[in-house]
Amino acid sequence: MNHLLPLLVALPLLGAGLLAATGRLLPRIAAETAGVVVSAGTAVLALVLLLNSSPPLVEWVGGWPPKASKGGESVGIVLVGDGVGLGMAALVSVLTVAALAYSWHYFDEAPEGQAGTFPALVLLFQGGMCGFAIAGDLFNAFVFFELMSVVAYALTGHRVEEARAVQGALTFGVVNSLGAYAMLMGIGLLYARTGELSLTAIGRGLDAHGGPDALTLAAFVLVLTGLLVKAAAVPFHFWLPDAHAVAPTPVCMLLSCVMVELGVYGVWRVYGTVFAGPGGIPAAGLEHALLALGVLTGVGGAFMCWYQRHIKRMLAYSTVSHVGLFLVAIGAYTPEGDDGAALYILGHAGVKAALFAVAGILLDRYGSVDEKELHGRARELRLPAVLFAAGGLALAGLPPFGTAFGKAVSEEAAGGPFTVLYVAVSAVTAGAVLRVAARVFLGLGPEPEEAAQAETKGTGEEPETHGRLGRLPDTMVVVPTVLLAAALAMGVVPGFAGVVSHAVSEAGSGGAVVTTTHWTPAGVLFGLLSTALAAGLAALAVTRPHLTAPHPWTDPVRRLRSGHLGDYVAWLVAGAALVGVLAWPSVLGG
């Protein structure tokens, strides 16, 4: 069984290679079918492996298992197929299938002879993300991290005729590459100290050297910088709204629902296997860094989310603020927090992908994703309206959605004042979604006036489909419906949470700590509270737009998002220094 682990990477890559080779000859329908078949096959493989992942699968690619005679270390690359890694790979694969199904005959006529290019790129993206999810070797993780990044830049800029698309993709590319190189500097430092590359061997090497010092701290900061850029934590997040607002909608589903979360997953994985030992960074260091950045990210993302009128951009900011919540859950550094983050990421993936899918419907129906311009225009879209509103409620944490479950478990693990953060962030981000639902699909509230301020509007977008759609393709409605149903099932199916927390504890603590996760009255109550607050905020925004319109006092914060590449790089450097400052006291104390 463990020999099959590398196939999670090899299958999509081979599919992409064959599609690229034959793309010129294949009719479009064959290319798209092949893409769906390969990604679905990989998804099945991921699920089969996931079912067999207890005890975790370990594979030495190239057949180089460690030999006791050589000091117990290997010269090869190790892949780790535990419940969490394979769970992420399965999530990646399932969402890839969803994105490819959604984009069925979706794009404008592919350029001549390039029918296979888009599905091939999506398959490469899937392969890269699966490779990162199961990597047990730090440099190998970097390679697949770069693979998914490179494909993501290309996919983001796919609509080259659009000025914003290419600009967003370039910002995305430069900022993420810089983060990746910072990560590689960190890998170099760790290699210098330990002379090893596999995660567990580096961890052992650090422990053998003794307590943490400046080198450990610098390596921690640099590796975390790379991962947090990918996770779009404040202040590394600036690229995300630019990229997610302009990428084709099916790509947004993948970027926002798994790629960003893989950054969070990477932080969890790398800290747990490399830095958690006595020679690494004490847990207090991780807690300070992640809780501080998590709160900043949650609050900042929610704030910016509320003031967006570009619907995809609003959803992108909502992702930023949810990443903040995931980081807080992981930063709590308890087994329950990890369970909560895992559940929350799964639920969020289904809900956010569904919301993006509906935004894509609006874009293709009306050539706009601008909340003000679309006011009342989408009354005819009944089912998408229901889906969008349900997605908003799920995002708010309405039980029994999987998002509500994850939120409840994380919130209890983080405890104390963080409960306020969870409720507030869920309420504000979901309030924005519900506000859009009420204005766009129901036409509630007064006709909006044109604001004179400089902000990113959602007008003047080109539809991604071949002309504007007369009738909605079934796939574009079925995909969000299924995704939302899956998000609902995660909170309802008995035993699902048990399976997830078993996988998390086995991957995190080797099964030493067994946690139970279930709905608690407090969790349900806070879920209902944040839903009520979200509905209230949405109602307020619809009936009294002036109360929630941007005020001069919000301008300084909004102006931080200047769209300037240099600013983002400056913030990245400052963010790396901030992580260092936050983790420093624990190193001195340890």
């Binding site: 440099f139 390679v143 770069e146 990044s149 490179v150 830049y153 290309a154 800029g157 080259v160 005729e161 659009e162 000025a163 914003r164 290419v166 600009q167 967003g168 993709a169 370039l170 910002t171 590319g173 430069v174 590459s177 810089l178 190189y181 910072a182 590689l184 500097m185 170099g188 430092l189 290699y191 210098a192 590359l197 709204p241 630019d242 607002a245 302009v246 003031y307 967006q308 301020q453 400089a454 902000e455 990113t456 909004r558 102006r559 998002r561 200047s562 769209g563 300037h564 590449l565 240099g566 600013d567 790089v569 400056a570 990245l572 450097v573």
Partner: protein, 115 residues
């Protein structure tokens, strides 16, 4: 001064970041990104150096007769070089499109995506 080569790597990385942040031309910015990446080559290669070491290639030296430098970092650097070159190619392709669509390569004038 046994740590001096490492400082060179750190310096290259930081100077690349400075260039990126203050760049007034996107092609220059992509070049600065390559500078940052060059720092990673320097770091990896200095980390792998052994005093008196030669290339880890045994077609003309007897194994064990001389110290050789760490072959692993050389392989990692090779991977890194390829990754860097391809990322640069892709980013330059994006710069070409940005210049076509916006008519400028100056980041100061690209202010459409904000707020």
């Amino acid at each position: 001064m046994t740590f001096f080569p490492y400082l060179v790597a750190a310096y290259i990385f930081l100077v690349g970041c400075y260039g990126l942040a203050t760049s007034r031309n996107l092609i220059h910015a992509v070049g600065c990104l390559s500078v940052c990446q060059a720092a990673t080559y320097v770091l990896l290669l200095t980390v792998g150096y052994r005093d008196g070491g030669t290339a880890p290639v045994f077609s003309d030296i007897r194994p064990g007769s001389r110290p050789v430098v760490d072959p692993v970092v050389q392989a990692l650097t090779l991977t890194d070089v390829v990754v860097g070159a391809t990322v640069t190619a892709l980013l330059l392709a994006l710069v070409i499109q940005v210049v076509k669509r916006h008519g400028t390569a100056d980041p100061d004038e690209l202010r459409e995506l904000r707020g």
